[in-house]
Symmetry: C2
Subunit: 243 residues, 2 copies
Amino acid sequence: MKLSSYISVDCVVLGYDSEQLNVLLVERKLDDKVNDSPFEPDWTLTGNHVYLDEDIEEAANRVLYDLTGFSEIYLEQFKTFAAPDRLLKPKDQVWLKSIGMDPLKRVVTIGFFALLATQKVSLKWMGRNVKWTPVKEVGDLAFDHNQILDSALIAIRNKMRHEPLGFELLPEKFTLTQLQQVYEQIFDAKFDKRNFRKKVNRMQYVIALDEKQKGVPHKPAQLYKFSREIYEQTKRELLEFFV
Amino acid sequence: MKLSSYISVDCVVLGYDSEQLNVLLVERKLDDKVNDSPFEPDWTLTGNHVYLDEDIEEAANRVLYDLTGFSEIYLEQFKTFAAPDRLLKPKDQVWLKSIGMDPLKRVVTIGFFALLATQKVSLKWMGRNVKWTPVKEVGDLAFDHNQILDSALIAIRNKMRHEPLGFELLPEKFTLTQLQQVYEQIFDAKFDKRNFRKKVNRMQYVIALDEKQKGVPHKPAQLYKFSREIYEQTKRELLEFFV
DNA sequence: TTACATAGTGTAACTTGTACACTAACTTAC
DNA sequence: GTAAGTTAGTGTACAAGTTACACTATGTAA
């Protein structure tokens, strides 16, 4: 299959693990490095080329499927990066020449963000090391991937003001404390527990289950679920979220 | 200058003219048409190829400058379109072959929206007919440009919920009725005049000028201006807009 | 049985949203 | 210069939402 080599997708995969918000990073292989310096950053976001007969959404889903084994992950395009000095890897330049194509100087990449609960993921990707890193502790990434990550976080925050994305970071059954923590992490803010719960109570699409948390060394919390159906019906009235 | 032919930008240029929200369309030339049928739509959004040494933001600004003669227009990337069946024009395919490049089947285009007050614009572009069309009366456009327009309107609405984009559609000095009309057009809604003004009054960055409207056949309205400086200082407190 | 940890709950003061109708100021036509 | 036409500009009462704040309840583990 031929690659349209100059178009790629990069996925900012965010996961919440009951403590913090994490981003999925993959370790670079040696032959990915642009020069031989050992000081180049070792970690990148997940991404891949886009095939010629493939839409970019398909390509991003393919990356996520290879990574997690799941295909129903929340995924959304947020920005395209095309600065002329974006780097094409040397091995790709060689390969492009070998098939008679112009080894262009830049790769245009379409940034996607994906949201999921970390426990779902198997963490294997093309034989490389993969790790969750707390978003607040991400160091230098390769290429312009720090910039892509920052843009993703801004896009997610903006979208979360008026769409119920927070639930995508939680398992199907969750506690209100977990929900609150998700929003606190995303917006880097602290909310008042009672006021937060008052607001959730007004959301008819957050439904209390007949079930409690298990295996915790303290009072177990009530579990809730999110109903997208009810949300779709009532969203006109209840649009504002937590920030 | 060589073109990186498979990347283009398309600009959804929106203008407000004291009555309605309009979008700028350009007429196609005959040799743009994919086949000879006279039934193909005659109008498109403005767009162009992206040069190899050019970022996409630069390319979009170039399109806007060619069109309007202005270079300080509010412009923002909103979505990238890359469906495999997006069409490359026949003349471009011929041209790409002539310079030894693979005539790929699709053009990846990055969609931008631009906001301005219509009176600013001179309306000339590459020798073609250009016209403002009320957004509500746009008919069939060429390629997937109706889809691009719809996506732009959704992106603008979402952004306008928490950023002061409405002012970009007005001249520097505007009346509160004009401001209200902009938001009514964008959100396709009617607001109560007194409540709207109450809300504006709370926005310290909308400043009453010592000046009134002129040349209107009725009571002239107070003029106001928007101060981005004050907005930047106070935005944490006053984030919500009109919808 | 006690210590520990987190869950879960209510109220009062204040701010914002909503619904609603008349007078003021200017121009034009007669 | 008077009347008709047009848009500007204003206030109030009620409902809803926001904010700040501290204690009791229920489970586990030692």
